[in-house]
C-alpha cells in the first residue's frame, strides 16, 4: 500500500474516531492540533487502525508515535 492510499484510509478512520469531518491529515499533524485527541482517544485511534489494516503495534511503537507521519511510516513498515 502506498502513502496516498494509507492517507486516504487514515482520513476515514480519523473522521470516525474523532467524529469530525474536517480534519486535514498531514505528516506533521499531532495530538496538540486536534480537538479531543487525548490519551484515551489515542488508544481508540490505534485500536481502530490496527483493526482496519489488520496489523498489531508493539507497546513501545505506540509510545514513540509523535505525529501522523510516524504513524504512516509504521503502517507502511507493517503492512
Amino acid at each position: 500500500m502506498d502513502e496516498p492510499q494509507i492517507f486516504a484510509r487514515l482520513t476515514k478512520i480519523f473522521e470516525d474516531v474523532f467524529d469530525e469531518d474536517s480534519i486535514k491529515l498531514t505528516p506533521e499533524l499531532s495530538a496538540k492540533d486536534v480537538d479531543g485527541w487525548d490519551s484515551l482517544t489515542h488508544i481508540r485511534l490505534i485500536l481502530t487502525i490496527e483493526k482496519a489494516f489488520k496489523i498489531k503495534f508493539s507497546t513501545s511503537e505506540i509510545g514513540k508515535l509523535s505525529n501522523v507521519g510516524d504513524l504512516v511510516a509504521l503502517i507502511r513498515l507493517r503492512s
Binding site: D16, V17, D19, S39, L40, I43, R44, L47, T48, K51, T59, I62
Partner: protein
Amino acid sequence: MNALYTELQWLPRVPQEFSARLKALGDLAGSLGSEVQALALPALDLNQLTKLAKAMDKARAEGKLLTPLTPFRLAVLSNSTIDLIVPALVASAARHGIALEVIQPTYDQVVQEALTPDSKVNSSKPDAVLFALDYRALPLKPSLGDAEASSATVQGVIGYLHMLRDGIQSHTNAVCIFQTFAPPVETLLGSLDRALPGTLRSLIDGINRELTEFVLGSGDVLLDVAGLAETVGLADWHNLQLWNLGKFSFSDELIPFYADHVARTLAAIRGKSRKALILDLDNTVWGGVIGDDGLEGIQIAQGDARGEAHLAVQRLALDLRQRGIVLAVCSKNTDEVAREPFEKHPEMLLKLDHIAVFQANWSDKATNIQAIGEELSLGLDAMVFLDDNPVERGLVRKLLPQVAVPELPEEPAYYARTLAAGGYFEATAFAMEDIKRAGFYQDNAKRANLQKQVGGVADYLASLDMTITFQPFDATGRARIVQLINKSNQYNLTTRRYTNPEVAAAEADPSVFTLQVRLSDVFGDNGMISVIICRPMQPDVWGIDTWLMSCRVLGRKVEQMVLREILRHARAVGVQRLVASYFPTDRNKLVVDHYGKLGFTKILEEASGATHWEFSLDGTEPDPVPMNIIRIGFPNP
C-alpha cells in the same frame, strides 16, 4: 475471535445512512428517544457507539428529551479504566429502551466511594451500582495446597464484596450489580491449578461460586462476566497489552458485547425483557417447506444433520417455554398443512399443546404478529420473532419496530445459538411462578374461548370458581412482588418501579399498607396477580401509591375485590378517605378510567393527562364478585 459475539451478529448490520442520521439527530424537533433507539439497534462498533453516546449527551445538554426511553442512573465502580466502556454502555442501553446516565467516580476509588456517605456515587442517588471489578482488584494471596488459607482468602474476598454492598445500601436505594470474575489464562502447575487449593484458578472458582450464592440469596443482580469470558475464550478476553497500556480490563473488541450484556441486565431490572417467542415454521422449525415437501419430505429427524439443527431450535423453544416464555407460531401456510407435522411427525419435539397461538395463513406476518399480541394481551415490545427468511425479518422490523427480530446466519446449525446470544429473555430473578407462566397465557386462550361459548360475563365468572388470596408483603413473596412492580406496564396506575430493598422497606414499615393478591380458578393457579401499596398521607388519609395487576386476569373484576379489601383494612385503622392518581404512559391507557369505574371522584386532571381521584369511606363500595376469599398474615384480621 468468534464473530457472533464480537460483531453482535444477532443484530441487523449498521445501515449506510447511520452517520447521516446521527448528524441529523440534533435538528429533529420533539423527543429524540425513538430515533435514538432506532440508531442504537444495529450492531454498532466501539467508534459508532461512542459517537451515538456523544450525540445523546449533546441532545441532553441542549435540554432535548429522550422519552419514551426509560431513565436510569447507573454508577460504575471499577478498579480498571472504564472510559472506553462508558459511552458504549450509554448507547447500548438505548438499544434496550433505556436512557442511561452513568456516574463514574475517580479511577480506582471503589472502597471510598462505597463507604463514604457523601461520596460521588452515594450522593448521586443511582438506581443501580455496577461493581465492574476484575480479579486484579481482589486481595488474592496464593497459598498453594493450603485448603484452610485458601478458604480464608475466598471468605475475605466475599467479606470485601459484602462490605461494598453494605456501604452502598446504607446510603442509597440502589440495586447492586456484581460481576463474576474471569480468571487469567496462565496456570502455574497446569491442569492441576483447577484442583489444587490456593491457585489463582481455584481461588477465583471459589469466589465465583460463593458470590453467585450470595447474590441469589440477597436480591442483588448478577452479571456473569466469567461466563462472557468463557463464551469468547479467556485468551481473547484478557488483552494484556491493553492492561499494561492503560489498565483496560478486557479486550476493546469485546466492549460492544460486554456493554450489550450490561444494557440487557438494566433492561431486565426495569421489566423490559421479552415474554413471547414467535416462530416461523418452514426452514426455521423444520428443514424444508411442508407445503411443497410434505410430511415425509421435511427434515426434522435425529441423525440427519440438517434436521438436528432445526431440532435444536425446537429444543431451545421448549426450554424457554418451560421457564415461562410463551410460544406462538406465525407461518405463511394453509392452517391444516402447517399443523400436520405437529400432529403427525414422530420426531417433532414441539406439539400443538406448546403453542399458545397458532397463526398459519396467507396474510402478511406483521398483521399476524399483531393478532398474536392481542390474543395474548402482550405488547409488541414483549415479542421476539424468529424467521429464516430475511425478507420477512425486514418486513416485520420495518412495520413493527418494537418486535425484536434476530438476524440468523446462513447455517441452520447456529440458529439456536444466535437466538440465545440475543439475550431477549434476560431475567434478574427467578420465581417459581415463572415456570408456570407460559401455561397461564395458554389457559387464558382457553378462558377466552370459554367466554365466547358462555352467554353472559357474570355466568362465566361464576363458572370459574375463583379463589382470591390477600396477604401483606412478606419475604416469601418479595421476588415476585419486585418482578411485578418492575414488569407490569399495562394494568399499572402509576408505573412506579421499586427495587428489592425499597419493597423490603415498605414491607417493614407498619404505617404502609401493602397487599399481594393471588387468584386461582378452575383452570389452575394464576399465582400472584396484583400488588398494592398505600402510604399514609394525613392521619386519616391513605394515598394509593401503587396499584397494578397482571393482564392475564383482566375482566375478572379482581379490582373490585381488591378495592373492597383495601377499604376493609382502611376502615379498621380509622382512615376516612383514599386518594389516588393515574399517570399516563404509552402503555397504560387500559386503566385510564380504572378509578372512575370503581366509584372514585375525579378531583383534578392535568394537561399531561394525569388524573387525581378520591374515595370517601362512607361512599358506596363496589359490589362483591362471586369468589372465595382467603386472608393470610394480617396483624388484625
